[in-house]
Structures are given as structure tokens and as C-alpha cells.
Subunit: 153 residues, 12 copies
């Protein structure tokens, strides 16, 4: 059976993933500018990708016989990522998301090592599959911050 440490990683994963989902919906609603339609769709796509991972983490906690947290307060308290705020530029949204994905990727790697040490391959696999969601989103957004490739300038 996995150690209590792994449960903590799973609880943080729920809090951070739900927070990133909520951030994305917030960006989705408040984006603007000539790229409105593109970013409106992109943020919603990424929000959906991340939301699907929340259920897996929470249900994994239950399989390890602990309680899964998830109310707004619990999420706000348990998360270590940054929250979206008023008046952000689209660029700031993207930079914040990248920073959050990187933080989560780092934590998931530690969780994988811990789960493997504890001899809990199922939990490790949950993190291994879901880390790739964050790695892909990080790539997508990172590319948006590069120069325009000659099309725009």
C-alpha cells in the first residue's frame, strides 16, 4: 500500500489541476484581441483536457482509502499554483499557465518516484499518464510566445 506521502501528492494534484481548469475557463471567458477566437477555443480545449485528469486523481485517493477533497475552499487552500486575477493581458494569461504547468510537472515527477518506491505501480501510472497532459499544454503555450514567424512580423 502507498505511503501517506503519495496521498498528499494526489491531494495536491487534485487542487492544482482543478485550479488550472478554473484558470483556463477564466481565460476562456475574458480573452480578447485579434486572436480572440483562436485563444477562446484553445483555452477551452486545455481546460477540458485538464478537467478529465481531476477525476482520476480524486478516485485514486479513494482507492488508497483516504478522503478526496474538492470544495472551493479546499481547492483554494490546497493549491500551490498561481490563480488568475483581474485585468490580465492575454500574454500574462499564457505566461501564468506555462509557469503553473511547469510547477505541476515537477511535482508529478516527485510523486512518480515516491509511488514507485512505495511499490504502488497503479498510482505511479496515473501520474505518468497525466503528466503528459501538462507537458503538451506547456509546449502549445510556449510556442505562442515566440516571434511571429514572418506572417505577422
Amino acid at each position: 500500500m502507498s505511503s501517506e506521502l503519495v496521498v498528499e501528492y494526489l491531494r495536491r494534484a487534485v487542487a492544482n489541476s482543478m485550479s488550472i481548469y478554473m484558470n483556463y475557463k477564466r481565460y476562456h471567458w475574458n480573452t480578447y484581441g485579434p486572436l480572440f477566437y483562436e485563444t477562446h477555443l484553445l483555452f477551452d480545449q486545455l481546460a477540458g483536457d485538464v478537467l478529465k485528469t481531476v477525476d482520476e486523481f480524486a478516485e485514486r485517493i479513494r482507492m488508497l482509502d483516504s478522503e478526496a477533497l474538492g470544495s472551493p475552499e479546499e481547492i483554494a487552500k490546497g493549491a500551490t499554483v498561481k490563480f488568475a486575477s483581474s485585468g490580465m493581458s492575454v500574454k500574462a494569461m499564457i505566461e501564468q499557465a506555462i509557469e503553473n504547468h511547469r510547477l505541476v510537472i515537477g511535482e508529478f515527477k516527485k510523486a512518480i518516484r515516491q509511488a514507485e518506491e512505495d511499490g504502488d505501480p497503479g498510482t505511479a501510472d496515473v501520474f505518468v499518464r497525466n503528466i503528459q497532459v501538462h507537458e503538451k499544454a506547456e509546449w502549445f503555450l510556449r510556442e505562442h510566445l515566440k516571434e511571429g514567424g514572418g506572417l505577422i512580423r
Copy 2:
């Protein structure tokens, strides 16, 4: 039964909605620039959203036992929105669409009040449901005219 005024609102709704649909297809075909793919898709999406409302207005007229108009000449004559023309910039397309949606939103509000006064909740509901199509399109396009949010400039 609804008054003749409501039938007039419905006939104008057919003419204006069909005109906005035709404008959008025209933008869809003639858009250009680095945002070609995004705007090509967006204009077609909005065209489709508006076309779906035309049938509802026309059939409502028939339920009130009047004749529904719809030939190109009748549409051209009955519409109060602006028509797309040659040589418009993409920005001009968007500005024209916003202006047209606002005009239609104003007319639909009057139509709703009239239908409610006439004790015709079915007709009122047709306008209430479809006004939201125009309100959403107006928001989508309005955002495109804002500054680039740090990504482009």
C-alpha cells in the same frame, strides 16, 4: 392572436437574419490576411448560427396565418441592416457585422414587448431565444477589435 405589428417584426427578422447570413458567407469567402483560417471558420460558424434562426421566424409567421416572404428581392427590400460590399477590409467586415447585430438586438427587444402585450408568449419566446444568438456574436466580434493583448503587439 398577435397583432399585425408582430407579424411585421417577424417579417423584418426574416429579412435581416437572412441578410446577415448572406453577409457572413460573403465575408467567409473573401476574408484574407494572417488570420485567414481563423476568420474563415468564425464567419462560417456565425453564418450557420444565424441561418438556423431564419426558419423559426418564417414558420412563426405561418402559425400566425400570414405569408412568409423570402425571395432575394423581398429580402433586399425588407432588410434594415447594411449589406456587405466589394473591397471591404476584414476590420470593416467585423465592424459592419457588429453594427448589424446591435440593430437587430434593438428590434427584437421591441418585438418581445409587443408580443407580450398581444398575449402571444410563443412568439415572444422565439424572439427571446434568438436574440441571444445575436448577443453572443456581437460579443465575439467586439473582442476582436481590441488591442492584441501582448501577443501580437
Copy 3:
């Protein structure tokens, strides 16, 4: 590259096809009599078949690097088919549609010859595929005008 003549044929095809679509929707809404349900469905089916061809013609114009027209005024001006009007009998609707399809079939044949002369097989194929939509509709409607086959009279 195709000559300017072919672009004219394509523009007329857009105007006429959109007009026939709008006529069909108008018949669809205003048909009546014991065959109401059958003709209501049939006119809508034919409207949909024709609408699908409009996009192809307009986008073909763009591939030939010309501007595609499509606002209600442009359609009303560019069309050579007859427009639906008030107070038509169902029989008159069908007769008008047959006449319009025949006119369009004749024009498409000329367009095919022109495109082949210009060495533009893509444009020719667009007309060849879509002429069959009009030929099938013409047959469907033509049969409705025959005597009742013993069932009704």
C-alpha cells in the same frame, strides 16, 4: 488559368443557386393543401441540396483569385432566374422551379465548355457535379405535374 468568362459563369451560378435556395425556402414555408406535408418536406430537401452547391461555386471564384459576391442586393442583381412572389399556387411554385432549373442547366453546360476551352478541369468538374443536382430536381418536380396515375384520379 481560366478566362474572365468563366468567373462570370461562376458568379451567375452563385446568384442563381442562392436564389433558387431562397425560392425553395419560401415555397417550403407557404405551401398548402392535402399534399402540405409531402411538399413541405420536398421543398426543404431540394433547398438543402442546392444550398450545398453555393459554397463550391463561391470558393471556386476565390481559387481563381477573384472576389465572390453574395449580399442580398448582389444576388438580386446577378440572378437570371425568376423569383418567388406572393400568392402563388403550389402548382405555380413547381412550374417556376422547373423553369429555373432548366435555365441553370443550360448555363452550366456553356460554363463547362468554356472551362474546358480554358484548360481549367477543376472548374469544369465543379459545374459537372453540380449540374446533376438541378437535373435531378427538375425530374422530381416534372413528375408531380403529370396525371395522378389512377390513385387520385
Copy 4:
């Protein structure tokens, strides 16, 4: 919370809608003549449209914390529409259905006013959405009784 009057309107809506559904199935089975296939399909389509509304009315009663009725006896007793009977001509079926739809439309309008007075917008909306099912069916059938439009006579 809505008054007892609104619950009465909802109970009558269940009884009348279920009755119209059952009438339509009866017409669907017993129609005949050269228009057999058309009317067989049409009556089944309208039956299905009306059946979907029954669930909404009954569940609305439950949300208002009253008991929903629905056995054959309760329906037979609670309905105010006319019931289909043996030996009806197809024309008589259509005339009966039109009459029933008009009766229901009148009742729904009263129900909407009552629900609005009671400050119960949810119930009002249930009636507003479903009144349109009856208004559309009334139009469809009314057109069938007009002269043949030149095709048949």
C-alpha cells in the same frame, strides 16, 4: 411557490397532452386513402412531439411537491379535449386534432399568466416552450384542409 391553480393547469396539461398523443397514435394506425403513407408518418411525428411534453408537465408537478396523475382512468377523467372514436374519416381526424390543439393553446396561455402572477418563472417557461409544439401542429394540419393548390385540383 406556485399556487394550487398552477398545479391544476399542469394536471390538465398532462391529461390533455397524453390524450392528444393517444389520439394521434389511433389516427396513425387507422388512416387510409391515397395519402396513407404521408398521413401515417405525419400523425406519428406529431404523436412523438406531443409525448415528449408529457414528461415535462408531470415532473414539474412533482417539483411543486404535488402528485402527478397518469393512469388511463385519470387521463380519461382529467382531459378536456375530444377523444378519437370509431369510423372517423381522415378529414375528421385532422379537424378534431386542430380543435384540440386550439383548446390546449388557450389553456396554456392562461397557465402562463397564472404562473407569472405566482412568481414561478420555471413553470411558466415549461408552458411557453411546449405551447409552441401545439402551435406548430395546428399550422401543419390547418394547411392540409386548404384547396389542393393546382396539383390535385
Copy 5:
């Protein structure tokens, strides 16, 4: 051709099946208690299973060239099953349904024998296929009345 007796069995099958359908919708709306969601879904599932059989019986009557009945009054008069009433407990709903299914199963067996005697294999098969709908429902409900199997008590 089948005897008049078989038509009577088919008419009773229509009346009883439609009544059981209506009873199930009534249970579906008015069920309650800790098993609300389970029984709400189950009653609707069974209602749908039975409704599908009604069309088959009624259309079979028409193939035998008789008139199919189906108005609320005709159903109420022609049915031999018990009707749902106010204030039933969930247990009483289930007991009533079981009793009704058993009655119908018995009648269908007689109908099958009669149809076979009349040399009408098509009608016999309609009863043979649909008897299984009632046999399965009877089993499902019968099991609910047994003791809780150690889970609940």
C-alpha cells in the same frame, strides 16, 4: 386469416400494454425514498420497453383488416389490468406491476394458441416476442421484493 377471437386478443393487448405503460410513467413520477433514483430509472426503462410493443399489436390488428382502438376512453374500457392510484407505496407499485404482468402473460399464452389454431403464424410471433418483455419485467420486479441479501439488512 385469423379468427375474430385473435383480433380480440390483440385489442386487449393494446389496452393492457398501454395501461401498463401509463402506470409505469405514473410510478416513475411519484416514486420516493432512498431508492428514488434507482426506481425512477427502472420504471422509465420498463415503461419504454412496454410502449414499444403497443405499436406492434395495433398495427397487427390493421393487417388483419380490423380497426385499432387507442383513445384514453377505449383503453380504460378495454383493459383488464389494474390501474395505478393515488397514495401507493413503492412496494405497492411493484406488487401491482407484478400482478399485471402475470395477467398479461396468461392472456398472451392463450392468444398464441388461438393464432396457431387459426393458422396465423405472424400474429402468433408478435405475441411470442412480446410475452418475453413481460416475463423479464416480472422477474426484475419480483426480485426487488426479496430480503436485502445482507447489504441492507
Copy 6:
């Protein structure tokens, strides 16, 4: 194992069913008059219903370890139904189809008795299921020949 008689019934069923299918396609193509669209769709629907039964009969022959026939010549020779011919009125098409269905229904009943005598319940069931296709089609068409029910005359 079934007797050779049953194989003969199955071979005739293939020939007659394929012939009725081909007749229906022929009616489907050549129908005309004000009911063109309705009868065009109806004949195609019935054609499809009957075609599905051909495979079952032919494969059943193979399960009984005999050869299944099916070339145009074999069908023309093996069929006992009437074939469509040039210049038929729509009414004549319907009358021919009714006559053919009745002939087939009679043969299938004999086949069922034979298969039951031979102790071959699988073959009997193939006929029992497929006889209902013909019984339903016969009803549909028979109704078309009745007087117009007040709508048309």
C-alpha cells in the same frame, strides 16, 4: 434435417423476394403524378425491407447444405409472382404488389407447416419472421386504394 420440400420453398422465396425487390425499384424509378415524392419514397422503403429478407432465405438454403440460386435467369425462371412491365399506372403498380404479397404470404404459410413437420424450427422461424414483412407491406398498399378520406375527395 429438413426435407427437400423445404429447400424448394426456400428457393422459391429467394426468387419471389428478389423479384418483388426488383419490381419495387422499377416502380420507385417510374412512379409519377402529384404523389410522386410519397410513392417514390414508399416504394424504395418497401424494396429495402424485402431485399433484407433475400439474404436470410439464401443463407438458410446453404445451412441445409443445398445450392442457393440467384442469377437473373434463375430468378426469372423460379419466381411465381408477376413482373412489372412497361406503361403501368401507379394504381396498377400498387395492385400488382398487393397481389404478389398475398401470393407470397400463402406460400410462406405452407413452408412454415412443412418445416415444422420436418422438425426444423430454425427454417420455420426464418419464414415466420419474414412473412410479417409482406403482411405489413400488403396493409400499407391496400390502404392506398381506399377512398381519400375527405381530404382529396
Copy 7:
């Protein structure tokens, strides 16, 4: 255009609806007992129903040209419903959800009146449609708290 009051109602609707969604997911994960499977499915179904409404409220705010909030902190601060906490019994989950739905229903009714006063039928309709989601959920859960109907006790 709607007053600032309506925007406040919409912001509260986002916060409360997102909170109820998050509560439901929490119940979905942590439910237990003999009704585990039923309540596990039910809570997830209701979570999904409520989540769909969040997007509508937030996008409506944007149509009214205000900023939509949605980060975990903003939700936690803006919500007036109760949050799920550790160690709740299944019964306590259901009681809390009922209480929350009732609170939201009351607020939505006020919002509808305000939007109507402001002459903003689109916003009013968003509340009218979505109030029914809460009214249905409240009914479903309320029934679970009743006595067992004879089945269980």
C-alpha cells in the same frame, strides 16, 4: 442594457453554480454505503447538469461587457452557498445540496425580476432556463429523504 445589479446576480450565479458543481464532485468521490453505486452516479449526473450552466452565466457577463470571475479564490469568496466538508454522512450531503439549491432558486427569481425590469430579456431567459436545473435536482434529492416506501422499511 442591463444594470450593474444584474451583473452582480450573474457573478453570484457563476460562483454558486461552480461551488455546487465542486460539492457534487466531492460527494461523488466520497459517498459510501449500500447505495454507493446509485449515489455515486447520481451526484456525478447532477454535477454535470450544473457545470453546463456555469459557462452560460459567465459568457452572459461578457456580453454585458463586464469581466467574468472564476479562479478558486474568486469562487470561494463570491459564493453564498455552503461548502462540502470532511466527514459528512451521505444524508448530510443530500441535505446540504437541497439547502444550496433552494438558496440559488431564490436568488435566480430575484435576478429574473431585475433583468426584466432592466429590459434585458436575454439575461432573464438565461436564468429562467437554468433555474429549472436546480428545481429538478432539488426534487430528486428531496425524495431520497422520504421513508423507504415499503421496500427497505
Copy 8:
């Protein structure tokens, strides 16, 4: 308008295509040997591909205002391909099908030239599209007659 010659080509195309379809079904039923499953599926696939072309040819005849033939006798008389017969080996089935496809391909090429000469691009296109069905089938079957490629021998 197309000459009478083209109508003759279309009539032959109906007869030959329907015959090839019927041959394929016959092969499909009577194939045997270690490749039973493969050839059983392949013959049915090809039968379906060819059947789809029959409707197009017959309806094209109707568009040219002639009568479409299609009864078993008419097909048997009008076809120029070979018919399947009793006792064919699987290899003989494939050889017969290849021969038939080649005959049809030759005829279609003549029909295309005739339709082009008559200035009937629609009819020409029907043949052009459908010739490819036969060309592909001919390739598929031709390959089966080659040596086994080292796998079998």
C-alpha cells in the same frame, strides 16, 4: 439533350450492373474452401459497391425522360454479361466476374464518348464515376488469380 443512343447505354448499364450484383450475391452464398470467409466477405462487398451504381443509372434515364427497366425478365433480356450458373468453382466465379467487368468497362467508355458528343456532361459523369467501381473490382479479382507469393506455395 442526349440522343437515344445514350439511353440505350444507360439501359444496358442497369441490366448489366444488376446482373453483376446478382452474380456476386450468388457467389457470396455458394463460395467454399479454405478461403471461404475471405471470399464470402469480398463478394458481398463488391455486390454492394455495384448495387449502389444501379440507382444512379436508372434515375439518369428518368432525367432524360425515358422509362427505366428493371424487372427480372427485363434484366435477363437486356444484359450482355454472363450469368452465374450451378457448380462453378471459386476460380470460375472470379474469372467470370473479371470477364464481366472488362465487358462493362468497354461499354462505359463508349457511352462516355457518346454522351460527350451529345453535349450531356451529367450523363458522361455518371459513367465516369461508376466505371471506376468496375476497374477497382477487376484489379482486386485479377490479383487473386496470381501465384501465391510464397505464403501458400
Copy 9:
């Protein structure tokens, strides 16, 4: 109600059908040779066809108020068919399957007679429908054992 004999037939049907399913999966996994892909697919298709029948037999036992068996031990004990074993050639797999299908077909015929004697048409129909699954599989496999039809040898 059916006699105990019929329950015995149903129990044997469960055991034999489940065994044939398991045999087919075993063949599916271990087949080999140039026909690997064809037989791999065919065995899985037949496995699926047979598995669908198991549920019907077992649930029928429950409708007759007896206990359905199904654990591996009970299946192994209750089955009368032969079990797959190690080292079988593909031909031996097919021969074993044919033999098993024939045994089952014989038993189902006896079961049908018994159920008919007991006046239990529902049970009889379960056997009648499912016997055809075995009769078709037997034909499919039997053909594979014939000579190669000229293609292979």
C-alpha cells in the same frame, strides 16, 4: 410454467454456449498459418455471436425462478461439448467446433419440443432464435473444410 426438464436444457445451454465461447477465444489466440488473419477474425466473430446467447439463456432460467449457474467449475461440469486442448491444428479446431455446434443444435431441438409441450412459448422462442446462431456457424466452418475451389489448389 415450464417443467424442471426445460430448466435443465437451459442450464446445459449456458454451460455449452459458454464453453464454445471459451473454445473460440482459445482458437482466436492460438491460430496460425497463412490464413492467420482470416481465422483470427472469424473465430472472434463467432465467439462474440455465441457469447450474446449466454445471457439470454441464463436470464431465462431466472424468469423461471431457478438459479443460473456460471462459475468456471460449474461450466466445466455442466458442459457436454468437447473442450479445446493444447497443440491442436487449425483444422482440428474447426472440426471440433463443427462437432460441438451439431451437438448443441440437436439438444436445442429437444428443448424446443419440451418447452412447447410445457406451454412455455417464451422459452421455446429463446431456443429457436439462438439455434440459428449455431446453424450459421456450422455452415461457415463446414465450408472451410472443402477443397480450395481452384484458387489454392
Copy 10:
């Protein structure tokens, strides 16, 4: 290449997974009591989840070039889980399933370690993915054995 030990783990996985599938079907058929519908559905859901894993294990054995076992006798002999038996209470079914899942989870963990030692990441991944099916089922069932959460008791 993997050692023979891993093949043994895979063979045991096939035997145990197939046994658990068969147990679940047996529970699915024989469950009873007020929770009949819920447990009937749940057991079938879990049966399906487990059956999907059997194919993966067996095909993995084939990739490692060994023979996959699967007849009823082989399953009965190779399994280490407990088999369902007559007269079990629903609670006993759930307890047996939990015990079996735990046994399998333990074995899969050992198999994962062995496959990793053998440098066979593909086999390890098959176990890692499928262990989660058992871990989720174990959680689902474990919760059912807890006290009723205030709803029932």
C-alpha cells in the same frame, strides 16, 4: 525476452480474470433484494471491465511466443481466485469479489516487478494498466459494505 516466470503470471492472469468475469455474470444473474436493479447493473459493468483485460493478457502470451490457455477446464485448473457457488447472499458475493480482487492485485504487483527485471516493459505495462481495473472495482465494492450513511439506517 521475458522469462518463463512472466508467462506463468500471464497465464494465471488469464485464468483469474476469466474466472472473475464468470463470477460477476453469475452474481449479475442471481442478485436479489431491494437493490436488485443497482447490483444487477453494477455486476454487469464490472464483468465487462474485467473481460476486456482477458484478451490483452492472452495476446501478450502469444507475443512472447507461448500458447494461451482458455478452455473451461484450463481456467478452472489455472485460477487461484475463489469461485461463486450456490446460495450466496448478495453480501457474500461482494465479499468474495473484494477478496478475489485483492489476491489479483497482489499477483499483478509481483508480475510487474518480474517483467521489469526481465527487461520487458510491454508486459509490465499490460499489468500496470489492468491492475487499475481491479483497484477501482475493489474500491467500489468495499464502499457498499459500509454503514448506510443516514439514508437507510
Copy 11:
């Protein structure tokens, strides 16, 4: 039968189309800048459109009884279009794709003339249908290189 020249055109079409497909995937992976999401999707869409044409060309070669080439080396050798390389700007990707499409369009026109001269309408049609894929892609990309239409600059 087509001349060897046509086979050469088909082989070049395979090589060039596969190369364009591979180029598009390369652009799809390596695009960047504020338009990342739009161009990432667009390049993949165009890649898919072109890949669908490859199969048609290759299978056409087989119908003409020649060998179809397709290994990476053969493609690299047989292609006349430019290959994507490292370090391209997004603008350079688009310019290269336009140039390649224009080259292919020119070649396809020659191929069409050759196939028509050879009396091979099937091959001609394969080129005619697929030339339009390249003409549409060329238009899409060409528009991206125009000035921004007022939105961006």
C-alpha cells in the same frame, strides 16, 4: 488502356503528394508564434486532405497493371516538389507549400490531357477530383500572405 506516360504521371503524383503530406506534418510539428494554434491545426488539416489522395493514385497504378512505388527512398527520388528543411520561418513554410501546390497543379493538368488522349476517363477523373484539393490549399495559404486587413495592422 492508358499509355506508359500516364503511369509516369501517376507515379509522380504519388511521390509528390506523399512528400507534401510529409512536409505538412513537419510544419505542423514545428510551427510557432502567436498563430501557433491556428497554423498547427491548419497544417494538419491540409496534411490529411492530401494523404487521402495518395491511396487513389497508387491504386490507380495497380488498376493499370503497373507497380506502385512508395518507400521513403522511392518517394525522395520520385518527387519534384521541394522538401521542408530545418529552421524555416512559418512564412517560408507557407511559401514553400504554395510553390509545391502550383507545381503539382501544373502536372495534373498535363496528366489529365494525356489520360483523355489515351481514352482513359477513369484515370482522368482521379486527377480531376484531386487537383481541386491542391487548388483549394493553394487559395487558403495564398490568403495568409496578404496584409492583415486592419485587424492586426
Copy 12:
């Protein structure tokens, strides 16, 4: 972050997987003999399975912030597998594919070890999931080379 070695493994995986895809399409087009249909389908199925893995490898390179290669030249240069060539027998195709899969399986195992050493579980998982595609294909093809199992020889 992963070392440069892992990027090299990913680049080779792109080149080899794309090459195997192209080989399979080439076999798919040029296969022949009595097993044509089976091998034509099988090679296309395997081609599709492998193509799906290419995108994953290329996008993984981008997540590691390197450039993904993919033009025909780059693929031809970067691949270590053998390329299909002219005049191969079907047996030679299968032998070549088996050899290529084995080479790739070996490389993927090294890549997995490297990625695990680098602490990059996401990349490792990409290889672990996709190695199974090659392992399954290797098994499928390997079986085809065995003796015929008594069916053919």
C-alpha cells in the same frame, strides 16, 4: 529534462515508424495471390496502427524543445529499418516487416532505459505504449509464416 540521447531515440523512432508506415502502404498496394484481400486489408490495418504512433514521437520531441524532422529526405536518411523494393514476393514483404519490427522493438527498449535514467517518465511512457504496437504486429506476421494448420496443406 531528458538528455540529447533521448531526443536522438525519438528522431529515429519518427524516421523508422514513418518508414514502416510507407512500407506497409507499398505492400498494401502491391500484394497479390489467393490471399490478396486478406493481406491487402491486413497491411493497411498495420499501416494505420503505426502511423498513429508517428505524431506522438514527433510531438514529444517538440515538448523537449527540439526540432522534429519529417521530410522524405530526412526520413530516408534517419531510418535504420529496411525499405521495401520492387519485385518482392508477399512472403518477402512479411519477412521484411518482421525484421523491421524486431529492430524497432530493440531500439525502443534502449530508449525506455535512457528516458528512465534521465528522469523523464513522460517520454518513457510514449515508448512503452508504442512498443506494444510493434510487438503485436510482429506476432501477427510471424504466425503467417507457419505451416498451414491442415487447412491448406
